[in-house]
């Protein structure tokens, strides 16, 4: 077996394991942080401070019956969770966790990530359509319109960074932040990216597709057991991806106070920043009410896109001048 | 008496509806009206024009016929009016749900409970009871419990207060 192949297999296993681990950490974090924001202890009883709770939940979901509702398209109904899970794993392959901790180094890794995240929408579409449930279909409509329109400001804000660094390589972008982080010169782009990221991952206050009080559980209303947990995993994996791109583009990636074995231990700073951003995401979720669907679109078209366009233009002019 | 209330009373009297003033402290309403079914709609229109709102519509099963009780009140002043209308012989009643839209549900409910048929009501389907219980009419009384219409009215002012005992304290 060629060493390259062996490396790929090990990497794939690691990535999948990390996706599961990440979902557990994030799930735990979300439930704990929300609990303390609401002045209650949250998970306590399963394991010390409830650390085993997510494992227990996962095992329980594995043991649940998978109900395929009547009148649904059986094949597509089963396909959708897999379809949503698979593309969420792939971005992890190119993420630069540290200088030497990157599975595949690619010139165009940023585009790769964007391409992969765009597939996720199809999974939601399929799930909503195949369920044969009006609530699911509603959630799907909202999700698609939302994802399609928020992709624009997201790409525009990324582009203004690309203009500065003139590379699509994530390592290259990190290297370009030698003296300062890009959040200092591109704060607007960062804010726009972060808001769009919230919308892309369907997080509150933009959690239209699964708006509990309106659409019960949105596009995964009909999913039980493992089907549901795949969507759950995918959501958390997506959140991680979005935040890690933000870290790379704006917060200097794995850079930080030098540690011994810096080429590998940079992962500490990287994770710190990513989970910091994820904390903000959770914090935001437990603070605000949900926006209405048309307001969401208005906000995108009225504020985010003009601002990101203006930001891009100004950046372009400045880059040319300097 | 509030001038608006006076106007209302005179307007009702113009419709040749007799309005009786009551002791509010004893009964909790200011006027009572006993009405025939054919004058109900003019009365309701008059009430709406004089800025009264409909408190509720309820049934009362007495001999000889079920009575429908309407209570009107005012947002602006203390004025509460009780109207009693016995249903016609064919168990029907004109609807006022096109005048006071709020009556819509009250009438449906009364139909559920007493089986009174409100003519021209837009949608007289069961509201509270299940569809299969159209004929249940749960609030109709058994024969042995049924009382006459006059038996449940205030008699001549009640002189003797009910017998009062000293209650235990604590």
């Amino acid at each position: 077996m060629p060493p390259e192949l062996l490396r790929m297999i090990i990497a794939a296993v690691l990535v999948v394991a990390f996706v599961f681990l990440n979902a557990m950490i994030l799930g735990y974090m979300e439930r704990k942080v929300s609990a303390h924001i609401q002045r209650r202890p949250g998970l306590m009883e399963v394991g010390p401070h409830g650390v085993l709770q997510l494992i227990v939940d996962g095992l329980k979901l594995i043991g649940k019956q998978l109900v395929v509702p009547e009148g649904s398209n059986k094949f597509l109904f089963r396909l959708a969770p897999v379809l949503s899970f698979a593309p969420c794993v792939l971005p992890f392959v190119v993420l630069p966790f540290a200088r030497k901790l990157q599975i595949v180094s690619m010139d165009i890794s940023l585009i790769f990530i964007l391409a992969m995240t765009s597939i996720n929408v199809i999974a939601i579409l399929v799930a909503g359509w195949a369920s044969n449930n009006k609530y699911s279909l509603f959630g799907t409509f909202r999700s698609v319109a939302q994802a399609v329109s928020y992709e624009i400001p997201m790409l525009l804000s990324i582009l203004s960074i690309i203009l500065i660094t003139s590379t699509f390589s994530l390592q290259g972008i990190i290297a370009a932040q030698k003296y300062y982080w890009f959040i200092l010169i591109q704060p607007l782009a960062f804010i726009i990216y972060f808001i769009s990221g919230l919308a892309e991952t369907n997080r509150a206050p933009f959690d239209m597709p699964e708006a509990e009080s309106e659409l019960t559980a949105g596009f995964h209303t009909e999913y039980s057991g493992m089907g549901f947990s795949f969507f759950f995993l995918a959501e958390y994996a997506n959140m991680f991806t979005v935040c890690s791109i933000a870290t790379v583009l704006f917060l200097g990636g794995w850079k930080g106070i030098p540690l011994p074995l810096g080429d590998y231990t940079g992962i500490f700073w990287f994770m710190l920043k990513v989970y910091g951003l994820l904390f903000v995401m959770i914090w935001v979720r437990w603070t605000y009410p949900r926006v209405r669907f048309d307001q969401l679109m208005t906000f995108c078209w009225k504020y985010l896109i003009p601002f990101s366009l203006a930001n891009l233009l100004i950046t372009a002019v400045l880059v040319k001048l300097i | 008496m509030h001038p608006a209330t006076e106007k209302l009373v005179s307007a009702l009297q113009d419709l040749s509806i007799s309005v009786e003033a009551c002791d509010y402290q004893q009964r909790g309403y200011h006027f009572e009206i006993d009405l025939e079914a054919d004058k109900l709609r003019p009365l309701a229109e008059c009430m709406l024009a004089r800025e009264m709102f409909l408190g509720f519509v309820g049934g009362l099963h007495v001999k000889p016929a079920v009575e429908i009780i309407y209570q009107f009140a005012s947002f602006e002043r203390a004025c509460r009016i009780v109207v009693r209308v016995p249903v016609a012989g064919d168990n029907s009643m004109p609807t006022i749900s096109d005048i006071f839209q709020g009556a819509n549900w009250h009438e449906r409910e009364t139909r559920d409970f007493y089986g009174v048929n409100f003519t021209d009501h837009p949608n007289l389907k069961p509201l509270i009871l299940a569809e299969e219980d159209v004929d249940l009419k749960p609030l109709l009384k058994k024969d042995e419990d049924l009382k006459g219409a006059t038996e449940v009215r205030w008699a001549v002012p009640v002189e003797e207060k009910p017998e009062v005992e000293k209650a235990e304290q604590g």
Partner: protein, 384 residues
């Protein structure tokens, strides 16, 4: 396989089988189990895309035969039922019921008892508004405010539980008074609560009232005009949101309410935001009433002379109180004896909800949820 229903699509199988005339419209069945219908309301929505064309509430999923039971039990035995109609604010229901009999039979109530009634009723009103603020925000997707309001709510429940013995469905008032006296500890705790609650308004305002998303979601949504309110008989905070200052406590004062100085907050536009503001300000007014009542609290007995076996005169009698959701009227027809001949209960939410079909026509689904949330519905109260 015995279990045929297992694979039925969730939520949709209660829809009517009939086709609707317009081909582009379709039915959406909300409830009887749906997170935002507060229990067991079912709303059948005829939809055109995301727009609601015709919302038709279907009642009766919480119907508990209250009026039937009232006719078959003696008056005291029906007492616990009153607290179970509107479980979010049970004491005004108790109040109306006992006051009805006091009016019918001409029973005097000691002043202290009336003060206790007012204090506990107002506390209960605050509890109800707490619950409502949380529930409405929950409908609109904010989870945290409900925990904060419940935190405050628990403070009051502790106070009330101490004196009434239960947390929710009180059965505390008796004809002629109340069944247990309040003590200094109660007064002390209530004063502490008033202080605490006044400080907590800051959090409500920062987290909810001023929040741009909340404002955008509620402003101009579900506007009830005064005329519409009159035609439907809407009462309570929903009515006051429309700018009509109708409050039974002022209009037909009962108990010792005339002794207190308080205002009736009214809104301007009649939209969901105004209804929210009215309730928030009402909490403050209730605090004022409680404060004054505690200051004026007279000494004396808490349970007056009440007949052990009460014989009612024949005749009819009506009593209205201001419950947390609006005007509550008990209308009693008595044929003598100790069992009511007929007890009609006019519950506020019933009329308030009946506006919904007209109010929500042409609305977005999300707005419907916000508008319905702002009504403060308690379904078993509506269904009775």
């Amino acid at each position: 396989m015995e279990n045929l229903a297992e694979n039925r699509t969730a939520y949709t199988d209660l829809e009517p089988a009939t086709d609707i005339p317009n081909e582009n419209h379709y039915y959406l069945n909300m409830g009887p189990q749906h997170p935002s219908t507060h229990g067991v309301l079912r709303v059948l929505l005829e939809m055109d895309g995301e727009y609601v064309v015709d919302p038709q509430p279907v009642l009766g999923y919480g119907h508990r035969m209250q009026e039937k039971m009232a006719e078959h039990k003696n008056w005291m035995a029906f007492m616990p039922n009153t607290g179970r109609m509107d479980y979010a604010a049970a004491l005004p229901y108790n109040h109306g019921y006992v006051a009805l009999f006091e009016r019918l039979c001409g029973i005097e109530v000691p002043a202290r008892a009336e003060y206790i009634r007012v204090i506990t009723s107002e506390l209960n009103r605050i509890v109800s508004h707490h619950l409502w603020i949380g529930a409405m925000l929950l409908d609109m997707g904010a989870f945290t405010p409900i925990l904060y309001t419940f935190d405050d709510r628990e403070q009051v429940l502790d106070i009330l539980e101490d004196v009434t013995g239960s947390r929710l469905t009180y059965c505390y008032f008796r004809v002629g008074g109340v069944c247990k006296d309040i003590d200094d500890k109660f007064v002390e705790k209530t004063r502490a609560f008033i202080k605490r609650q006044r400080e907590r308004f800051d959090i409500y305002n920062k987290l909810v009232t001023g929040n741009i998303i909340f404002i955008k979601r509620t402003e101009g949504v579900g506007v009830i005009s005064p005329d519409m309110a009159r035609r439907y008989g809407v009462t309570g905070p929903v009515l006051r949101g429309s700018g009509i200052a109708y409050d039974v406590r002022k209009n037909e004062p009962y108990s010792v309410y005339p002794n207190f100085d308080f205002e009736i907050p009214v809104g301007r536009n009649g939209d969901s935001y105004d209804r929210y503001m009215v309730r928030l300000l009402e909490i403050e007014q209730s605090l004022r009433i409680i404060e004054q009542a505690l200051d004026q609290l007279p000494e004396g007995s808490f349970l007056g002379k009440a007949p052990k076996k009460m014989k009612m005169p024949t005749g009819d009698c009506s009593f209205s109180v201001e419950a947390a959701r609006g005007e509550l009227t008990y209308y009693l027809v008595s044929g003598g004896g100790d069992i009511p001949y007929r007890l009609k209960i006019r519950v506020p939410s019933y009329s308030n909800l009946s506006v919904l079909p007209e109010l929500c026509q042409g609305m977005l689904l999300s707005d419907l949820v916000a508008a319905m949330g702002s009504m403060d519905l308690v379904i078993p109260e509506i269904d009775r």
